[in-house]
Symmetry: D2
Subunit: 115 residues, 4 copies
């Protein structure tokens, strides 16, 4: 797979071949996405932060599959809403660069120490 756009096209074909568009409303796809995000979180819930950085290979592959599931529903949902994901990410990065200037955000960024 070379790109997000190729993934988008393959997922669309996959759904069409199975007549699944009827289930793929944005509402339902948003639910499916957060369900997969929950399965991702489950792998980390009892780990320390340090442990979460050094997963055993088999665990890491399971996590990779959950990451893939989140990506799949994310791309499918964006396609149904006709949203260009990379363009949206670019807009968001520009907003974040304004919100968290590097010189002020170093290490003790308010985002992280306000609590």
């Amino acid at each position: 797979m070379q790109s997000l756009d190729e993934l988008r096209q393959r997922l669309r074909a996959f759904a069409t071949e199975r007549d699944w568009e009827q289930f793929h409303s944005p509402k339902n796809l948003a639910m499916a996405l957060i369900v997969e995000a929950g399965e991702l979180v489950e792998h980390f819930q009892w780990l320390t932060q340090a442990q979460s950085l050094t997963l055993a290979p088999d665990k890491r592959e399971l996590v990779a599959q959950e990451l893939a599931d989140v990506l799949i529903y994310l791309v499918r949902l964006a396609d149904r809403l006709d949203v260009d994901l990379l363009a949206a990410a670019e807009r968001k990065l520009a907003l974040n660069a304004e919100k968290y200037p590097a010189e002020r955000a170093r290490g003790s960024a308010r985002k992280y120490d306000e609590s």
Copy 2:
């Protein structure tokens, strides 16, 4: 932005410039991802499925920003775990093609009607 890989590199630089790696454990990033997924779901929670397909332009842009936030944490998390997202999605699609053969899954796929 041309590719997921470019996004990955820009997010890594963004975190490094702000000394944020210390906060970006996979455990924390998985939490941040599901928080953004929740903000995405919030836009759809009281809508009918039909309404979720025809969002007003301003609402659609808000949803696009939430999709971007999910993508950003997904890419960042995959980077911290050294997982290639597109390759993982490709493996997952192959598994799904076996699990849901097109001829048997049409419309009434067990996945969808088991309940």
Copy 3:
């Protein structure tokens, strides 16, 4: 089981007997709670709203178990933070009554039709 308070005490004893307090930081318990919430959402993700109101008995029991799991982590988390759940709910209801006066919120509450 007669009350939330009895549940709180039984969950505390359950954790103590197993030496699980070390895993039950509020951070971890919040993760466990949302993981269970995701399992709950999974049961509804492909259903129409009408279907979600008329679950088959076996499905309804599975959903009841997920509801119980959410409650269990919610009570455990509140206990670790020394929060009285019913008192907090009472404060929240008072806030909501101000925010959504009955005469103005009828049917077309801004909360529901702003999108």
Copy 4:
């Protein structure tokens, strides 16, 4: 507020007075619940486990309000499905006692160290 049952009755009256039953399908309420769970998780996402145990008073009150929101949607959802939450929790505790016998689960319960 004296009990979960009182909360259930007050929430039902609150929805009826505002003609909100039409929005309160189990599908929608499950979405609302996980959205609130996400807002809860947000308070903990960048904290260490130790920090999550010692919240400042104002932060703790914000967390208490999120716990209340989760409880409110949980009770409302159970009511719509005619599920008795405390009875379901009792059934679940019995299952957990079988699954994690105290003598075998001490400290190093498989649940916690399998990863």
